[in-house]
């Protein structure tokens, strides 16, 4: 029983972490329909810049803020110079954002060197609380907390304001939205920056979770983020959350109960969802044929 709780909490935390990495992509890819392969580079930069500021300033919070700001700036530059000319054209998006991905990942090595970098949780988030055989690793509880916070704010932003509607409408028919008096370019820019900032946050929090950061996390976890957004159902924040938690929990359970198939479990989950719920967990019917 205790074991089950431990595994579950850990799985939840991992799921939350994945959600944090994917949340920005839910906006950029799910909502704005931009196949942003540079998303991984964004959280990579968030991780490096954040951890760097954190280790040199000693303050974890300043590190987080630095990560978010860095990624917002990067997001701005990406949108303006890379993504803006290719809205609505997936093929061009793939190529140009992959190019940006290569450039940004390599730049990380230029700036911070090719070695892996150690990332440790701040003093106040180290260690764990224990109740008998149940233990809660502090940093993981922290991640769950931040994840919920981000989730809540996103839901608020998309459901209580016109923003979500306008973006979705803009993706369907950009001209019409403009003809209704909305400066869709600005809206897209804003949402993109928002998504980038969230990627920065995710990257920063990833560091202490895994203990190290290195230049390859961009591609490795970038793909995972895509998976989560798609199987969650394009553009559904709730879906991404559920998908991320499923990936986290299932990974955790499988590693414990079925270690032999642990490697394949993510993909089996994906197959199962796509076959039985072809439009993703929270997907709308349109995704179906």
């Amino acid at each position: 029983m205790e074991m089950l709780i431990n595994i579950t909490v850990n799985g939840l935390a991992t799921g939350m972490l994945i959600f944090l990495l994917a949340a920005g992509l839910t906006l950029i890819f799910g909502l704005m329909d931009v196949l942003n392969f540079a998303h991984g580079a964004l959280f990579l930069w968030g991780a490096y810049a954040g951890i760097w500021v954190y280790t040199s300033s000693g303050s974890f919070l300043i590190g987080i803020i630095a990560a978010i700001i860095t990624c917002c700036i990067l997001g701005y530059l990406l949108e303006r110079f890379i993504v803006k000319p290719v809205y609505g054209n997936h093929i061009q998006q793939i190529l140009i954002t992959l190019g940006a991905m290569l450039v940004l990942s390599e730049l990380v090595k230029v700036v911070w060197g090719p070695n892996i970098i150690h990332a440790r949780a701040p003093e106040w988030l180290r260690g764990s609380w224990e109740i008998g055989d149940i233990f809660f690793i502090k940093y993981r509880i922290f991640i769950i907390f931040v994840g919920l916070l981000v989730f809540g704010s996103l839901l608020f932003l998309l459901n209580r304001t016109k923003l979500g509607l306008v973006v979705r409408a803009g993706v369907m028919d950009k001209e019409m939205v403009q003809a209704l008096g909305i400066n869709i370019r600005k809206v897209f820019l804003f949402v993109f920056i928002l998504g980038a900032g969230m990627a920065g946050l995710g990257g920063m929090l990833f560091g202490p979770y895994s203990g190290v950061i290195y230049a390859e996390i961009g591609l490795e976890y970038g793909i995972l983020a895509f998976i989560v957004v798609v199987i969650g159902g394009m553009g559904s924040v709730l879906g991404s959350m559920i998908a991320a938690l499923m990936v986290g929990l299932l990974g955790s359970y499988a590693a414990y109960f079925l270690p032999e198939i642990a490697l394949a479990v993510n993909f089996l989950l994906m197959l199962a969802i796509l076959i039985f719920k072809p439009s993703g967990i929270m997907g709308m019917k349109e995704a179906l044929k």
Binding site: H90, L95, L102, L104, E106, I275, P278
Partner: protein, 343 residues
């Protein structure tokens, strides 16, 4: 009329180029150049098979490497197990064709159920399962370390192998070119445009999509055979997503839906990689050649929005049209080269 001449001019250039390439090994003895060209040919084939899906049927796959990998492992395992002889190689080819056909048939069935992104993710998952299987079935595959094997005597010579790869590429190109221009190929393009409408014209969309999937899968499998043979080594990298991304990049850079673009794209990427890297001795900045490679991608999108071949074609056609009618230009005559949104 003049267009016909243009066309044959293009074909003539191609033939000359092919013959030139055929004789290349006899004028140069740089084997590393032959190896690079061989690799270009193999990847061109792989990318052409991808283009058949992406450019002509509008299917995005993130798991195309699975067919490539099946071919690579099949030939490697066969040659290792039964010895390096031509009959064994032929056996491997047959097994690859059968196996890739079955897998692509099954995967193709799912295209009916799933739309763009969802299908892409499904293929990603299936390919990843192949990767895991290759990793886990260590008695057969040696996992990600991989294993080396010996290829049949006559193919060991790099020149022979080069010519085989070149001929193979030309054959595949002609085959696919013909296929895409055929009535059946045109239906495929229509499916990419508007699938339900094709149905209501009385075509069985499923048959076409599956055919495209199977052809693309088998061709990719054959490319995988050549690839493994060129390395005489195989490991799990042949199932990696990066490989699919390579095919995707090559196709897009060359020009989606142009077939020939795949060849140009493969040459460009391969050349850019090595050319840039070799410049490292010229200036330290080229040690970070990956940055420049990324920049090349970005520039291609900016200056060749439809890929190199695609954009050149439209530019050419437009120029012809302007020549014909200066006052009020009529639209392009034949426009098979456009970048279509696949989403």
């Amino acid at each position: 009329m003049s267009r016909l001449k243009q066309l044959s001019k293009f074909k003539l250039t191609l033939s000359v180029l092919t013959i030139g390439l055929l004789f290349l090994p006899f004028v140069t003895d740089s084997r590393s150049m032959l190896i690079m060209l061989t690799k270009i040919f193999i990847f061109a084939v792989f990318a052409m098979s991808y283009d058949l899906l992406l450019g002509y049927t509008g299917i995005v796959s993130f798991g195309h490497a699975m067919f490539f990998g099946i071919g690579a492992y099949t030939v490697a395992i066969c040659l290792k197990a039964f010895g390096p002889s031509i009959p064994v190689l032929l056996l491997a080819v047959v097994i690859t064709i059968i196996f890739t056909a079955i897998v692509s048939f099954l995967v193709g069935l799912l295209t009916l159920r799933l739309k763009a992104h969802f299908f892409a993710m499904l293929t990603l998952a299936v390919a990843a399962l192949f990767l895991v299987a290759a990793e886990k079935w260590r008695s057969l595959t040696m996992g990600n370390d991989g294993f080396t094997f010996v290829i049949p005597e006559i193919l060991r010579d790099r020149v022979t192998f080069y010519i085989v790869a070149l001929v193979f590429m030309v054959i595949v190109f002609l085959f696919l070119e013909r296929f895409t221009q055929s009535p059946m190929g045109r239906v495929l393009q229509a499916i990419r445009e508007n699938e339900p409408r094709v149905e209501s014209l009385g075509y069985r969309v499923m048959h076409y999509k599956i055919t495209a999937n199977v052809i693309a899968g088998v061709v990719a499998g054959l490319a995988g055979i050549l690839y493994a043979m060129s390395l005489r080594f195989v490991n799990t990298a042949v199932f990696a997503t990066e490989l699919t991304l390579d095919a995707l990049l090559i196709t897009i850079i060359g020009g989606v839906g142009t077939l020939f673009g795949a060849i140009v794209g493969a040459a460009l990427i391969e050349y850019a990689r090595h050319g840039l890297m070799d410049l490292a001795s010229v200036h330290w900045i080229f040690e970070r050649w990956v940055i420049l490679l990324g920049t090349v991608f970005i520039l291609v999108v900016m200056f060749f929005p439809k890929g190199i071949v695609g954009t050149t074609q439209s530019w050419w056609v437009k120029r012809q049209m302007n020549k014909v009618n200066k006052l009020k230009p009529k639209p392009p005559a034949k426009n098979k080269n456009f970048t279509q949104d696949v989403g």
